[in-house]
Amino acid sequence: MYIMELALMLSAFFILTITARVMYLLYNIFRGICNLNSENNSLKTVYCIGSGGHTTELLRIVSHLDAEKYAPRLYIMAMNDVSSEVKIREQERDSTEYQIYRIPRSRNVKQSYVSSVFTTLYATIYTIPIICKFKPDIIFCNGPGTCVPICLVAFLLRCIFVLDCRIVFIESFCRVRTLSLSGKILQWFADIFIVQWPQLTNVCFRGKYFGRLT
């Protein structure tokens, strides 16, 4: 009897704690409180690499950031992406503080929406150990499908106190009037949400506009 009661109380306690944590995180996110003051000398950074234009765009933003502050860097990209790796190696040729990890694609071009639910789930599960091991401080992404599972995992780990990280979402420059699917999802839990066209700030409820970044 006592064990049953104890288990019930414990689970109620956990559920309450997690709910409070999620509400606290969302409150901070929507209020725009996203400061991160690290005790270390650098911030472990994850870059979610997409394909083609997305990669070029994100790598250009990377090149403006202090490579010593945002280090070590982990690039996560899709399994079957060849050209992105060439671009990353080219940009990082003088550095050793970076790694490249590959995860399965969450959605292939022309794949049906129903089957993409399963592939996204698979990609999400695949991502968990990578994020747990690397323990990023910041995650940068700019809209390819691969970034949603990564950010979701990071956010959930943050909810259960495993991780304390910030998600920076930069909507691609090619989005002028509407948000991408990743953008629509991530505006709910990304800490910083950047758009590159002023008219987009009317479409989303918390976009920040700093001009064209790439």
Partner: protein, 171 residues
């Protein structure tokens, strides 16, 4: 009017664009290019359904290849760039200050790429058309275009540096 011949570079990025491959090779389009003084076309066809190789049609030399690590050289040596609506290719061409004609791929389901082409057309940085209207190319005056303003990432970087801090930066 045009004494020396000019080069045209066409790119479809990392995807495929079968209709553009067919449209470019139409006699009417090649004649229009020829009339404007373009005698050499370099065409990056990506995964399009087309055979790479060297061709000569309507007095225009066409070189087709699928991919290269960097398109910079081809882009630089061109006098006109024709591109798919991908942001990467558009920005690369505009970054090189090349006259740019964007061809919209109407087959793409989610045609958000058109947004960018339309917007940059409104600000006078490029022209755009579809495969059907490609042959109107000779009526286009590229000298009207203005260069794209440079990106301004500094405010964003400053903002990031103010919210994310580290103990001591070794500098």
């Amino acid at each position: 009017m045009h004494t020396q011949y000019k080069k045209c570079f066409i790119t479809v990025g990392t995807t495929r664009f079968d209709l553009l491959c067919q449209s470019i090779q139409q006699p009417a389009v090649l004649r229009a290019l020829n009339k404007l003084g373009y005698r050499e076309i370099t065409f990056q066809i990506g995964n399009s359904d087309c055979e790479p190789g060297h061709y000569e049609k309507e007095g225009v030399k066409i070189e087709m290849y699928r991919f290269k690590d960097s398109l910079k050289e081809d882009m630089r040596s061109a006098d006109l760039v024709i591109s798919h609506a991908g942001a990467g290719s558009c920005l690369e061409a505009l970054g090189e200050n090349k006259p740019l004609l964007v061809v919209i791929n109407e087959d793409l389901m989610d045609n958000h790429q058109m947004e960018l082409a339309e917007q940059l057309h409104m600000s006078g940085n490029l022209y755009y058309c579809t495969c059907d209207t490609l042959n109107t190319l000779e009526t286009v005056d590229f000298s009207w275009l203005s260069p794209l303003a440079k990106p301004t990432p500094n405010n964003f970087v400053k903002y990031l540096d103010s919210v994310f801090t580290v103990k001591n930066l070794s500098k």
